[in-house]
Structures are given as C-alpha cells and as structure tokens.
C-alpha cells in the first residue's frame, strides 16, 4: 500500500499529476481516485509548496469526473429508453441480447 505520508512532497505532486494526466485517456475512474485520495493532501494538511498545484489537480479531477458522470448517465438512460425504438442499431449495440423479451 502506498502511504502518502512517507513520500516527499515532490513525489506526491508527481503521483497526483500522473493520475490527472492519465484521466484524459478516457479514464474517469483515475480522476475519481485522484480526487478522493488527494483530497486530504489538498485541503486538510498544513500547507506546503506543492499543495497549490495538487489542489488545482484535485479540483480539475472532480470537474472531469462530474462531466463523465453526466455523459455516462445520459447515455445509459437514452440506451435503456430507446433501445427498442432504434431498430436494428439497438440490437447491434446490445452486448447481451435479451432472451424472451424485446
């Protein structure tokens, strides 16, 4: 288990940056983890020089996660409502085709 207290502030900033940049590769979970893990470091610990940058990354990760949540929830609802009304496309997009029901 990686314990942030044992790492130097530069290393903490490095990890936070890596997670932040990694999230841009369509990986919203990285942003979510980043936000949760570094929340304490960004807001609750006594200030140190790299904290401002970490704070910036955490806030941006939160925004990114939120945007992704909106996208995923919207698509989920749209698919569930319009799957049968889309015609053949609905069936081709379905991964596990329902048995016995339309």
């Amino acid at each position: 288990m990686v314990s942030l207290e044992k790492k130097s502030p530069e290393e903490r900033l490095n990890i936070c940056r890596k997670y932040y940049l990694g999230g841009f590769a369509f990986l919203p979970l990285l942003w979510l983890i980043n936000a949760i893990w570094f929340y304490k470091q960004a807001f609750k610990v006594e200030p140190y020089p790299q904290q401002a940058q970490i704070r910036k990354y955490v806030i941006r990760s939160v925004i990114g996660t939120f945007i992704w949540c909106i996208i995923i929830i919207t698509w989920n609802v749209m698919f569930q409502v319009f799957r049968t009304k889309m015609g053949p496309i609905g069936d081709y997009l379905t991964f596990v085709v329902p048995r016995g029901y339309y």
Binding site: P88, V97, R99, G100, Y102
Partner: protein
C-alpha cells in the same frame, strides 16, 4: 476405549443407512406433472403469438373453475381475488374460449399469472375444440382474393393467434387430473387462513417481438463470446415429389405446354398445445388426405403401363408448412417461377407455369358420406373431367362454379398465376360451407374421430375408414385413366395396402410396411419411433429428426416405382452398380412389400428404381437476399426455441406459518453466531495461525 470407538462407528453407519432418504427435499415439496401439454411462442414478420412465462416460472395460488356458475362466483368474490397477489386459474377445457379468457384477463389483469386447462377424461372431450381462426389461413392477403369470405371453421376461437403474457398449459391425462383434484380438495377449503395449493408453470420462450427481430438477433455474435445463441427457427420442412417411371428420362425434346398434372396434399398441421412424445392430432387433416394420396399413388403406379400410352406427366407432391400462411406453396411456386422445379439435373428442362395442365388437391377430408369438389376458375376447368369424376363416384358433389374455395394450397397456386394458367380441383369434406372437422388444427383430431378404435387396431384390420378410402381412391384412379388415357377400366387396390397405410400412419410408424420398402439402415431409423403415430406438427428448419419425411419419401417412391424391376432377381451389388451409373433415378435394395408386387415369382430382395426429390419448404422470405421480413409478400413464420417446460404443484403456507418459519430462521442464525463466538472465546485453538513447533 477401542470398543467404544467401534460402537460409535457402528451406530453412525446404521444411522446413515436408515436415516438417509433417497428423496431430496425438493421432491417432497413439489408434485411434478410431466405429461402436461404446453403452449409455445411463434412469430411472423410483424407479430408474436402464443404464450410466454418468466425465466423462473410463473407461480400463483391455484383456483379451479369447473363451470359457468363457478366462474361468475369467482369473479364476484373480490375478497378472494384480493387475498393473493397472483393466481393460476385451473379451467375446464370446455370453458376455453374467447369469452371466458377475455373476462379473466380484464378482471384479473396482472394477477392472472397463468392458465391451466384440464380434461376430466377422454370421454368428456368438448364437442368442438379448434383454436384456429374462423376463416383459416386468411390473415394477411396471402389467400386467393375471392368474392365472399366464408367462415369454414365457425367454431374456431382464434386463440392460437393471440399473444398471451402468461403461460397456458393443458392436462389431458386422467391420472394427472385425479391427482390435481385430490390436492385441491385437500387444501383449498376456506378462503384465507388455511394453506392453499399453488402451481408453478415454466415455459420460457427465447424469441420475442417478431421474426424480423428474432432472425436478426440470431445472427448477432460478439466475437468475445463465441457462442451464437439461436432464438428462433424458420418454419419449414420438405416438399417431396415423385412421378411415374415413363418420365424417368430427361426429356430430349421440348416440354409440351399443359403436359404436367400435379396431385397435392399436405403433411403438416399445428396444435396450440404440444407435448413431448404425445399425440399431435392431425387425423382428419392431413392424415386422411395423405392416406388417400398415397393410396392413389399406389393405384396409379399399379396401372403405370396404361399411363405409358399417353404423354402427360403426373407428379405427386406433398407440401409441408401450409398450415401457417401457405409457406410451402409459396416456396413451390417460387421455385417453379424461377425455373428450379424439378431439381436434380441441369440438363432437364424446368417445368414452368405454362407446362401445368391442372392441379388436383386432397384437403381436409373426414369420414363423411359426401365429398365436395371445388373447382376454379370456371374458364379453365374441364367439365368432362368433373362429370366423369361424379359419375364414377356418386359421393362427390361438385360445388357451384366460382364458389369461394376452402383453405387449400391450391389457393396459392392460383394466386401466383393470377388464375389464368391452369384450373384447380379440390376434393374436401365440407357441408354447407363448414369443414366437417370439429377439431381442426387441434390435438383432439385423433383417430377416434374417424370411428377407429386405435387400441384394437392391427396391422391388417379392415375398418370402416379404410373401406371408405378404397371407395374414394378406386373411382378417382378410374377417372384419371378415363380422362387421360381414354379407356374405361375397372381398377382395384388391395384392401390390405390401405389397412397397412392406416395402421402405419395412425398407430405405429415402425410397421412392417416401412421396413419392407426401405433398406436396412433407413429402416432402423424408424425403430426409435416405435409405437408412435406419424407426427403432424409444425416443422422447423434445420429439419429435426422427424420420421415424417423419410416415411413419405420411401413409401411414395416405392409406390411409384418401375414395376418391371419386380420381375428381375437382382442382388445388392448389381443394384448399387445401376445406382452409380444413373444419377437421375434412385436405386435401393429392399426386402419388398408383398401386397404391392404383382408378379408370381417372389425373391429375397428387390432393386427398386424410383424417382424422388425433396426440397426445403421454407418460405422464400428466408432465402431471398436482403428481404425485409416485415413485408407481406411472403409469409415469414418462425418458432421460438425453449429449454425446460415444467408444471409443479406446491403448498402455499399460511401467513402465520411463514412468519414462524422466518422467526425460527433468524433465531437459529443468531444462536449459531453466539455459539461460535463463545467457542472462540473459550478455546485456545486457532485454526488460522500456524502451529508453533
């Protein structure tokens, strides 16, 4: 010390032997009915019909309704209806019609979780039981457009073509009914507090919505998961045709117009309630027509030397799949119009519409005194043929010219040719525009409706029915000879042959007849269907191992065989040599069916030279590229796939019982937690840590 160990060991082993019961607990909870009939889901291009249950079965409180009074009292008993969240209504078969079913659906709406029909005994079957439409095969515009619509099957309920969101099953065995009523009377005395019986019906169908959706889903496979799951299968079997030996040569010169006569019958039927290893019905339609057809084929084959004197080809055709929107006839006409009839040889000139002289069909025959002859169109029919037919057989009554045709495959033959090319002659049993069959397309259509006592029927018993067939087939054969050969000849068919056909088709398909006309390996394939009659049901593609097609193929080709070969004493190797040299006909070495062989000498085996072709009878909708299945140019019927079908009875405990069980369960749980905690606290053994050495 040692003796006490041995004593404990002995005690334990005795306990194990005597206390372990062979039955599982689940067997003691449920009573299973394995011989119930069930309703399945079928789909056409735009709709689904039939029944569907949930994947784990539909269960509910059982309530039995035996007659009209009980029905009305149940619907007014709101207290009873509110007492349970779901009901399985057990309904007497006589009450299964649109009035009662619709009333149940509207009154109970989502509380109706299933329907179980019961038949009290075989002698109390309803007088009419047909769930086809009142005008069968008349749904989409597939039929021939005629002046008036007649309700040929006026007692038909049309329930087969409705879609039910719950399963429907039927118990037709008396033992099952007795068991059901015994439990019902034992448990269902008062309405609320005592335990009641519950039923669980499971008949989960894979397919949904329409054939178009289902066939599309069949083809979907995501490459991560290799298994393609098949949801439904297209309806279709085999169209089989055969002809006389005189035409066994590929005609070198051009085929003459109006030189081919087609004789048609069907080999399929449907029932709303299916059973694995159960009777399928179909005795009046199509078995009677099929027996007449095969007997006529034998008669014509017998007189093949007479038919050599004329140049018209008589082709005997069986169609499979016409019960649902005439799929087989559409395929046959599609092949004919596109030049693939007959198949087999590229050098053979195909038979097209202009080569057809006329079509004759046997359809919906029943054991009646009078038969009706329908002919269409009046501009093309040959009145002398009709007069000869009626003269030879006074049982036949010709119907008025251009009267509406009954449901028959000929309708499609005429429709696809706009009734301009050839006439159709349909022989059927109708009386005042009503089919004589009370059980049209139902499993009750069994040999008892033909006055046959099936349990006492032997291989060679002469019944009223087989004599009736003889009295139809002989005049018909005579008429064909008179009309096409031009001579008057009294021809007869041996009663034994018809008796054997009746036995094989209606009682036991594994009969001496089929073993005499097939070779060893084909004959052995019928052993698995011992003591079953010929099944008449909806066949799907890929063709399952139904014995119907091999039976019809072998018997039809044998009856129309080249009889000169009956006089040759050939052995199996010579027969095989002939077979290798000739690809047009088939040569098989069989034991020989004695009543059919006319020559005085008899040999151990005969080489049979015959012509037989089988073509898939799936609707053209499934074979044409990029055909949109929701179009109505061709029928597109499919049948869903399913896995397990089960019907189980159980007892629903009272509310008090359920609460006590729950409380005891929670108590046991907490007690076991406490015991484990105490044990851990007071013992020093820790199983997780390694032992200190």
């Amino acid at each position: 010390m040692r003796s006490s160990v041995i004593f404990v060991y002995l005690l334990l082993s005795i306990l194990c032997v005597y206390c372990s019961q062979p039955k599982r607990i689940v067997d003691q909870m449920y009573i299973s009915f394995d011989h119930a009939r069930y309703c399945v889901r079928r789909l056409n291009g735009t709709h689904e019909i039939g029944c569907q249950s949930s994947a784990s079965g539909n269960s509910g409180r059982m309530y039995m309704i035996d007659n009209d009074e009980e029905f009305n009292s149940y619907l007014m008993n709101t207290k009873l209806i509110d007492s349970s969240g779901s009901f399985i209504i057990v309904l007497n078969v006589n009450l299964f019609n649109t009035y009662y079913v619709d009333k149940l659906i509207t009154s109970l709406s989502s509380k109706l979780n299933g329907l179980l029909l019961y038949l009290k005994s075989t002698s109390s079957r309803p007088e009419y039981f047909s769930h086809d439409d009142q005008c069968p095969n008349h749904r989409y515009s597939y039929y021939l457009n005629q002046t008036e619509i007649i309700n040929w099957n006026s007692k038909g309920t049309g329930l087969f073509f409705r879609s039910f969101p719950f399963p429907i099953m039927l118990i037709d065995e008396e033992d099952d009914y007795k068991q059901l009523i015994k439990f019902y009377r034992q448990f269902n005395y008062s309405q609320s507090s005592s335990p009641t019986c519950g039923l669980e019906l499971k008949s989960f169908q894979n397919a949904a919505h329409s054939s178009k959706t289902c066939i599309r889903r069949n083809d979907i496979s995501h490459s991560l998961i290799d298994l393609e799951e098949t949801f439904c299968d297209p309806v279709g079997g085999l169209n089989i045709y055969s002809k006389l030996p005189q035409s066994f040569i590929i005609i070198p010169k051009k085929r003459q117009p109006k030189s081919v006569i087609l004789i048609l019958t069907t080999t399929d039927s449907f029932q709303m309630f299916l059973k694995i290893k159960g009777t399928t019905g179909g005795a009046q339609q199509p078995a009677t027509s099929l027996i007449t057809f095969l007997a006529l084929a034998h008669l014509i084959g017998q007189e093949q030397n007479e038919f050599k004197q004329q140049d018209k080809e008589i082709i005997f055709v069986t169609l499979d799949g016409d019960a649902l929107d005439y799929s087989a006839s559409f395929k046959f006409m599609f092949d004919m119009i596109n030049g693939s009839f007959p198949i087999g040889n590229q050098n053979e000139e195909p038979i097209k519409v202009e080569h057809i002289h006329s079509i004759i069909e046997f359809q919906s025959l029943s054991l009646t005194d009078k038969l009706s002859l329908y002919t269409y169109p009046s501009s093309l029919i040959n009145q002398t043929f009709i007069d000869t037919l009626v003269h030879n057989n006074p049982m036949i009554i010709p119907m008025a010219v251009d009267s509406s045709l009954p449901p028959a495959s000929s309708q499609i033959f005429l429709r696809q040719t706009s009734s301009l090319s050839f006439p159709a002659y349909i022989l059927t049993s109708t009386n005042q525009n009503q089919l004589s069959n009370h059980y049209y397309h139902s499993f009750f259509d069994d040999p008892s409706t033909l006055s046959i006592n099936i349990s006492s029927l032997e291989y060679n018993s002469t019944t009223e029915f087989s004599q009736w067939i003889k009295n139809i087939v002989e005049p018909f054969g005579q008429t064909l000879i008179e009309s096409f050969v031009g001579i008057k000849k009294n021809i007869t068919i041996k009663q034994e042959i018809i008796n054997n056909l009746v036995y094989c088709i209606l009682k036991n398909i594994n009969c001496p007849l089929i073993h005499n006309v097939t070779n060893q390996s084909t004959g052995n394939s019928f052993d698995s269907s011992n003591e079953t009659s010929l099944p008449f049901s909806i066949n799907t593609y890929p063709v399952a191992a139904t014995p119907t097609f091999p039976f019809v193929q072998n018997i039809l080709s044998y009856f129309l065989r080249d009889r000169i070969y009956d006089t040759y004493n050939l052995n199996e190797t010579t027969c095989k040599q002939y077979s290798n040299n000739d690809s047009f006909c088939s040569y098989i070495y069989v034991g020989g069916y004695a009543p059919s062989i006319m020559s005085e000498q008899s040999f151990d085996g005969y080489c049979v030279r015959s012509y037989i072709r089988s073509v898939s009878s799936m609707s053209p909708a499934f074979t044409i590229d990029n055909y949109d299945l929701s179009q109505t140019t061709y029928p597109a019927w499919t049948e869903s796939r399913w896995t397990t079908i089960s019907l189980r009875l159980f007892v629903i405990p009272t509310r008090k019982h359920e609460i006590i069980t729950l409380v005891i369960g929670i108590l046991l749980l907490s007690v076991s937690f406490i015991v484990c905690f105490i044990l851990r606290y007071y013992t020093n053994i820790s199983l997780l840590q390694p032992s200190s050495s």
